[in-house]
Symmetry: C2
């Protein structure tokens, strides 16, 4: 009987499983599998191999850089295993380090693709403006211990909202050429907001249909220069329109960034 | 001139400096200096030696165990150095690991003692009741993935509020005998509250005039047993009145506990 089940199992139909993943990016070399260094994709693939015996590729909705966090990364993989999504979730959470957690696992149509099916993403960038960073926040906020002109930043957030060529905020030579690229560097930001919470964390949130490599970090680095008065907010439109990365501000550090949600 | 200043300095009057300290207890062997293992007291004393050349004892308001956090520990030290409190704060924060931060430094009367002058302390214990612990919370919450009867826990919190002999929640043989102990195991809890926040964190907060060794963790371990229905809440009064540690529930893990504030 067991042999029969196993035989059946080896001919089980291919299925696609979607995962919603959270991770603490500290200590990882980013999402994407590498030969050297621990990555989130690599860790999940290793556990799936352990659970199914298959060498499975886990396709993420995007690649987060070293140190970037996620609270709602989405990925999918194909499998001939007959394990239920709930068993995949439990097995992954049992064998992965606690810095990577599977929030959800579900079977989706074979046509689902975590990257190509995505219609939007939400990112959150956290800045701590107080004098001393609380130890529990140190891996999750960029420390800018200065008074920032929030009105000026807010004005710029209104300017980036909408459909624009974001070349001024794209690191040169880094676009993922495997993505069909009729849109080039044009992206739409549906919403860009600013919120200073009671713990002193300034959160900049961006909801858009897609983001260029380092786009959020380059936007935030530039917005902080505006907030500090180093870049007049009247210059911000010109920076955006220049379509030239050299006109933008610096890249904000990775560890303030968190991929919050991928929408389908 | 410089020599004169230095000579003056070496005869500067003794002063007492009060520090308000936050730390992430993960990776530390607790507050108290040890010969083996990194401790918060040991780290601060080492930096003060570097800053002043003096071998200074940093007296904490209490001892937190390995893994316990603090967001408002208070300590004091005596010094002949003429460094201002602001310079002490900056120097300590520059040289300490980012897991220990000095929120405040101020000169206080010589009679001030972080432990003996304290009139109250506030502790917070955090429990995560959801199925999967968000990675960013993993070092700061106890994971109890169960439905807890919050009304029963709340009833018990009302019972512990007030002045009681808390022997049932004191680990045997651990009382600090150097503290004048006319009060024995009698302590007063002014306020004990429960709050389930939007992130799914159940916070139990205790404000009292003093706490026995492991008292909060033993209370929380027992309250969770009540919440799970393993101990009927009608038995809770008997446990408190037994003045016998063997009647209480287990000790909750260290990493859910945070010393929030010390009052003077």
């Amino acid at each position: 009987m067991d042999q029969h089940v196993e035989l059946m199992s080896s001919f089980a139909e291919k299925r696609t499983i979607k995962l919603v993943i959270s991770y603490d990016g500290f200590g990882f070399c980013g999402w994407q599998r590498q030969n050297n260094g621990q990555t989130i994709q690599g860790e999940i693939e290793a556990v799936l191999h352990h659970l199914t015996g298959e060498h499975t590729v886990v396709n993420g909705a995007g690649r987060t850089d070293a140190g970037v966090h996620a609270d709602g990364m989405v990925a999918h993989f194909s499998t001939h295993s007959r394990l239920s999504p709930a068993v995949f979730q439990r097995g992954l959470n049992a064998l992965l380090p606690a810095s990577i957690r599977i929030y959800q696992a579900e079977e989706v149509p074979l046509s689902f693709h975590a990257r190509f099916s995505a219609i939007g993403k939400k990112y959150r960038y956290s800045i701590y403006t107080g004098a001393v960073v609380p130890p529990m926040l140190r891996f999750y906020v960029w420390h800018v211990p200065r008074v920032l002109d929030l009105d000026s930043i807010d004005t710029c957030l209104a300017i980036v909202t909408g459909t624009h060529d974001f070349s001024s905020f794209e690191n040169s030579g880094t676009r993922d050429k495997s993505v069909p690229s009729v849109r080039g560097a044009v992206r739409t930001i549906y919403q860009a907001t600013l919120d200073l919470d009671q713990d002193g964390i300034l959160a900049l949130q961006f909801f858009g249909n897609g983001f260029l490599r380092n786009m959020v970090r380059n936007l935030v680095g530039t917005l902080v220069e505006v907030g500090l008065g180093k870049i007049p907010n009247s210059d911000f439109v010109a920076i955006l329109q220049a379509k030239d990365r050299t006109k933008g501000g610096p890249t904000a550090p990775a560890h303030g960034l968190c991929l919050q949600e991928v929408l389908y």
